[in-house]
């Protein structure tokens, strides 16, 4: 059975890992312990994934070494593209082959060409999208000469399979992890306290907020034709909060696990629903993924095509292409592609709008309660929420039906009364409104007074003890 972060079995697993790793001062021993624990963790998700990640680790290491010793531009580009292609191979095979076959079948059927579509779904490889991107970032960073290739294959394997980030990110780059790792696992009391705070906050977000919403929200998203518009709006709000709580909760727990070993992971969610425009949203939502697409897709596209044609048209085209791929990364479905396209178009509109604005004297950020800021936040959140309908429904037909019934305010259908959706939505959105979006209260935690820290820990523990639903739900972002 798969080891979930939000389980007692994982707490025992993590405690054992920490005790053993902390018990030895030798970095080489720590490295092998972390590799063993990471493989045990990943084996709980199935053996296929273990084979795939090991294959990718071996390829990345050797391609990285070749890139590091190649001196000509041509050879370096060849090794770069070889590494990228080999990394993408398993991803395309396991995640996209059925989707590609179905799409080709639909396109070619009218002209009489039959394409066979696999009947049984392939074994899902949990985490494949994440560690594939980690591997591509490693090879690309060597190509761009921002890091040197590692000489130790076990060190690279440890980086790639390190269990806190393996199955659902954050997408941590080798340049961020390896320098820390080479100093060994060592943490201070502050690291321990902060790590525990991240774990508890993440668990509350996932178990208390996200899991409370999932059953009602899933029902509404699965069959919008049965519900009236008011319920559909609630479903949209509920999913907006659920996906944030689930995914940011997971990221918090991953960051917390790593911090317990003294490693600092990058933040992945920075109060995204406080954004005043769509570009800011993408600087705050799934930050490690959006930076990945920025650095390895958008900026290279921009640099290769700069100076050609109209600058706004070129940049708009490149951002839409980037976001279409970002959508596709999330899943093999036209819903995700269209979701990416929606965000790409929104970003392009914002890009053109910001470029035609007149020259401005920067006066500093307005307060969150300023009317223009509130309107900007509401508009941005509205676009994001419409996107979540595309994201959360199973098919395009369901998505359009959902949106149409909301837009036309369909009064027929069931009014589903959920006691959780509106209160939890209010809780999360008010937190986004009143907490400074550039502060990280968890990082500041250890600077608070002892009574405040004790009270906070006690409150979080009691919340988990009293308010966690009895039926556990898997983390939703594991499916990407």
């Amino acid at each position: 059975m798969a080891l979930s972060f939000a389980s007692l079995e994982f707490v025992v697993f993590l405690g054992l890992c920490l005790a053993l790793v902390r018990g030895t001062g030798k970095v080489s021993v720590q490295k092998w312990l972390l590799i063993i624990f990471s493989y045990v963790f990943y084996l709980s998700f199935g053996v296929v994934g273990v084979i795939v990640v090991t294959f990718i680790a071996l390829v990345d290491f050797h391609v990285g070494r070749r890139l590091g010793t190649s001196t000509t531009d041509g050879a370096r580009r060849q090794w770069l593209w070889t590494g990228v292609a080999v990394n993408l191979g398993p991803l395309v095979f396991f995640k996209y082959s059925a989707f590609l076959a179905e799409t080709m079948s639909a396109v070619l059927r009218p002209v009489g060409v039959r394409v066979s579509v696999p009947g049984d779904p392939l074994v899902p490889v949990i985490g494949l999208s994440y560690f594939t991107f980690a591997g591509i970032s490693y090879i690309s960073d060597i190509y761009y000469e921002t890091i040197a290739p590692t000489r130790s294959i076990s060190e690279y394997v440890c980086y790639l399979v390190y269990f806190p980030k393996l199955v659902a990110g954050p997408i941590v780059r080798a340049a961020e992890f390896l320098p820390q790792f080479r100093c060994g696992v060592q943490f201070t009391a502050q690291d321990f306290e902060t790590g525990c705070a991240y774990l508890l906050v993440g668990a509350v977000k996932k178990l208390v907020i996200a899991d409370r919403l999932v059953s009602h929200v899933s029902m509404i998203l699965a069959a919008p034709q049965h519900y009236n518009a008011s319920t559909l709006v609630q479903g949209m709000l509920g999913y907006t909060v659920q996906i944030y709580a689930d995914f940011s909760g997971y990221s918090d727990m991953a960051i917390g696990c790593a911090r317990l070993m003294g490693f600092r992971f990058p933040q992945n969610f920075l109060m995204p629903y406080s954004s005043v425009n769509i570009a800011e949203f993408w600087r705050r939502w799934h930050v490690t993924l959006s930076k990945w697409f920025r650095d390895y897709v958008f900026l290279p596209l921009e640099m290769e095509s700069r100076g050609t044609g109209n600058a706004n048209m070129r940049a708009s085209r490149n951002i839409i292409i980037t976001m279409l791929f970002c959508g596709l990364w999330h899943g093999a479905s036209w819903n995700f592609v269209l979701w990416g396209g929606l965000h790409g178009v929104a970003l392009a509109v914002y890009l053109v709008y910001s470029r035609v604005l007149p020259r401005q004297t920067h006066r500093g950020r307005r307060t969150a309660l300023h009317l223009r800021t509130l309107v900007a936040r509401a508009l941005t959140l509205s676009v994001v929420m419409v996107g979540w309908i595309l994201f959360g429904t199973q098919t395009l037909t369901l998505a359009f039906k959902y949106l149409w019934r909301m837009v036309t305010w369909s009064r027929d259908g069931v009014a589903l009364g959920s006691p959780y959706i509106l209160p939890l939505t209010a809780l999360v959105l008010l937190a986004h409104l009143f907490i400074d979006k550039d502060r990280n209260l968890i990082e500041e935690f250890s600077s608070y007074s002892a009574p405040v820290r004790i009270f906070t820990f006690a409150t979080l523990m009691m919340t988990l003890t009293c308010l966690v639903p009895s039926d556990g739900v898997p983390f939703s972002y594991l499916r990407f």
Binding site: T146, R283, L299, P300, M303, A315, Y350, R355, Q360, H362
Partner: protein, 79 residues
């Protein structure tokens, strides 16, 4: 030490009247300098100084100081 000339070009590309730019300034600290505007800044610098950067060179830039050093090296190659 970044030059006043480079500062003027960067602020012009970002349509900012004024902003303190130092060697250690990173894009995230400057209003309006994000990935969507980054290439505009690069193009403006290339055009003003009459240089051409490689994609990899731009992607390696960490701060304004790196950009200044890149410009200086390109100008030195031209002489």
């Amino acid at each position: 030490m970044i030059s006043q000339e480079l500062k003027t070009v960067i602020l012009g590309a970002l349509k900012l009247d004024e902003w303190e730019l130092t060697d250690a300034t990173v894009a995230a600290e400057v209003p309006g300098w994000d990935s969507l505007s980054h290439v505009n800044v690069v193009l403006a610098v290339e055009k003003h100084f009459g240089v051409r950067f490689k994609g990899a060179e731009v992607l390696r830039l960490k701060d304004v100081g790196d950009l200044q050093r890149l410009v200086d090296s390109k100008l030195a190659q031209q002489r």
